[in-house]
Each structure stands twice: as structure tokens, then as C-alpha cells.
Symmetry: C2
Subunit: 243 residues, 2 copies
Amino acid sequence: MSAASPLSVIGQVEQPRELPTERVDRGPLLGLPEIILSRRATQTFSPGPVPKRYLDAILQLATQAPSADNLQVWRYLVLQDAESKARLRRVAMDQPKLTEAPVVIVALGAKHGWEPSEDAVFDETFRRGAFPPEMRELYGRMARQAYGYFDRSVWVTRSAMIGVSFMMLAAEAYGFQTAPLEGCDPIALAKEFDLPDDIEFVCLLCIGRRAGPMKPYSGRFPVETVAFAERYGEPYRLDSEAL
Amino acid sequence: MSAASPLSVIGQVEQPRELPTERVDRGPLLGLPEIILSRRATQTFSPGPVPKRYLDAILQLATQAPSADNLQVWRYLVLQDAESKARLRRVAMDQPKLTEAPVVIVALGAKHGWEPSEDAVFDETFRRGAFPPEMRELYGRMARQAYGYFDRSVWVTRSAMIGVSFMMLAAEAYGFQTAPLEGCDPIALAKEFDLPDDIEFVCLLCIGRRAGPMKPYSGRFPVETVAFAERYGEPYRLDSEAL
């Protein structure tokens, strides 16, 4: 394994332009509630490719996600070659969809490789006017205090999972289907793909087109059992009118 | 702190119906690319409330997110009372938006409290027909193998962050603004809110309406520097036509 994962370019760029405005099947983009309600973990993928125009857009939208202090510690390994996907499958519980799906993303988090660019990122945030210049010193100090509270693996997982979630929903919005997976041996993965030492495995995301029927809905715990009002254990009650 | 975080209800329910079909300002729902591109971390919130109909919908959509083996280890503490938010602010770096925003969600992960219900969740997945019955034993065995690879704090953070991401985008889709925050002392939080021992702090999410101007865009690293093609470090090149 290599020792470091430096960014090769520090400067930040503007938002993407000219993203596709319709689904890959030429249908109109749906509203987010419909996208969320129609999403299932895809069980079997057809071999049809994800056109590059769409894959580019999905990656560009994923990188628009928020991250801790805009440090963007997510890293994405984009696998499309059959041989790469077969190597991944060997370290990821032999899951067939890893070789079936036309695109498999290995989401990773950089635990330390960003540190040399920390001040450059903060400076750019201030240069763009997000905060008054006199707050710059306090901003850096508070950021470092916040990092101090957390295990670095947990910390990179937070930002990277927001990125993966945006990627998954962007792919679904454009008419593709997805499957998030976590079954993977992170040590064997790092060895197989020669990942730098500071790189944390986060999860896998298959992107493509579903083959066969949609997986049945698996159900969810009622909101009242996982959301609490004001104090832990006090159920958050949905308005019965809204049910 | 209490010792356990059992679910009070095990049975799973169906998808929500009758969600709002327009934004809180009566405008039409936007496509996901527009939602993502117009989202910023909100700096100042106005005191106007999030109507319960919308907050219910946002929580219902958040709980439709995928999670590891559908175990739904996310837990959400929904704070709307001024006194609760003031208590949170005291353990969360005194951040003003925690008392300004009408709704603050404390996202949490249950590291062990779900274990007694594990088989019931898997049984329901099979009862609903997601997989052939003869796979039930293998399914449980593979799930437990996958958990074995990971630190439990990282593992709950993954699922809970997908939930938070869906929640954030659902709120933005309905015309609210959000601010994800992670600055919080997790030990002081657990004490202040009497959280069960197995509950992991994940992040905070403010939801409300922005006061004042939108924060300037902070820029992003070019896709080529954070996404790699086939092997780590090999830049994923966007099609220049798409730029």
C-alpha cells in the first residue's frame, strides 16, 4: 500500500452546467418523494451500460453534497471493466451483482490525506465570502475542536455516506436502479486495489438497470418507534390526518 | 443512562400515503438535480415553524431510506421546544442555529438495541417475498459475517447517514432549508438527553426557513481529483462535451 492520498489539485471549481434534464428513458424527472418511494435495492442487473453522459452527471451531483467543513473527504473508485469488478467480487462476499452491474462504485473516505490542504479549503471558503474575514481564525479552531470529538473512521463515513446517498438518488432520478452494499472485507480490498494507508472503506454502490421484477417492499418500523419528540423514548406521533 | 434501547414495536408498516405534492410555498416540486444544486448549508434561520404536515412527511420519507439488512438502526430525536434546543446548544459548541431553527433533529444510531429483533426483521423480509425461503439461513449467516467486518460505530453511522441525507433532501424538496452539523460533544449529549448506553451520536440537522441571503457556493474539488477509474489515483475523466 502507498503511504499517502494527497489531492493532486487543490483549487475548487464551480457547479456543473448542462446536466441531463430528462431520464435515460426520455421520461420527465420525478419529484423526490416519488423517487424515494419507488427505490428498492436492486437484486439483479441487466448488462446494459450507463451512458457516460449520465455517469458524469451522477458523479458531479454526488460531489455537490455537503461535507464536514467542505473538506470533501469522499473518494470514489469507479469500476466498469469486467476484470476490476471480478477482483472486487472476490473480496466482497462473492456477491453476483458486483459483476452484473455495469457500474460499481467503491466509496472510500480519506482519513488524513486531506490534512495538507485543510487551510487552503478554509481560505477558499472565506475568499468566496461564506463568512466574515474576521471569523477565519475561530473557524479553523472550531473545526479542529469538532474533529477532536470523533473517531476518524466514523468522521469520514459521515461525509462519504452523504455523498453516496446523493449519488444513489441522482442515479434513481435519471432512471437507473441501484443497490447499496456493505459486505466487503476492507483489508482484502485495500490490498487488492492498492489503497493508500489512510483510506477507509465506506460502502459499495451498484448502478445500472434492473433485470427482472422489482424487489417487494420490505416494510419499515413505524415512525413512532424510531423518532422521538423532545426526549429519547417519547414517541414522535404522526398527525392521524396525515396517515 | 438507561441500559438498553429496545424497539417498542417490531412489526413493519407499509409506505406512507397522502404525502404533500407541492412545496410549502405552493410551488411545484423540483427535480433532484435542481434541489441538489440549490442547496446550501443555511447560516441563519427565521423563526417560522415547519408545519406538522410537512415534518411528518419529511420523517416518513427519511425512514424509507435503505439500511443494512433493513435493520433501520437510525433513531431521531426531534427537538422543537425552545428549552430542548437550548439544552442541545449547550453541548453542541454553542451554535446559534440550534436555537434559531424551528426543528432540530439529533440523528443517532442504535449499536445493539436492535439485536433482539434481528430475526423478526429478517423473517418479515422473507415473508414479504424478497428472497426465496430456502435462502433464509444463508441470509442470516451472511448478514452476521458482514457485521463482523466493521466497527459497530462506523456501521450504524452508515445507515443513519443515508437516513439523514434522505431527510435533508426531502426537507429541501418541500421548500425548507437545512443545515447539517456535527459539532457536538457526544458524551455531554448522552448525559443531557439521558441516551441509552448503546446509542451513538451521528449528526445534527436543522430544518426551517432561511433568514437573510443564501450562503455563497464554497466550490468543490474537480471530479477528476476525488473519483478514480478502475484503480485508485487514476483520474475519472469527465467527457469534455459534458462540461
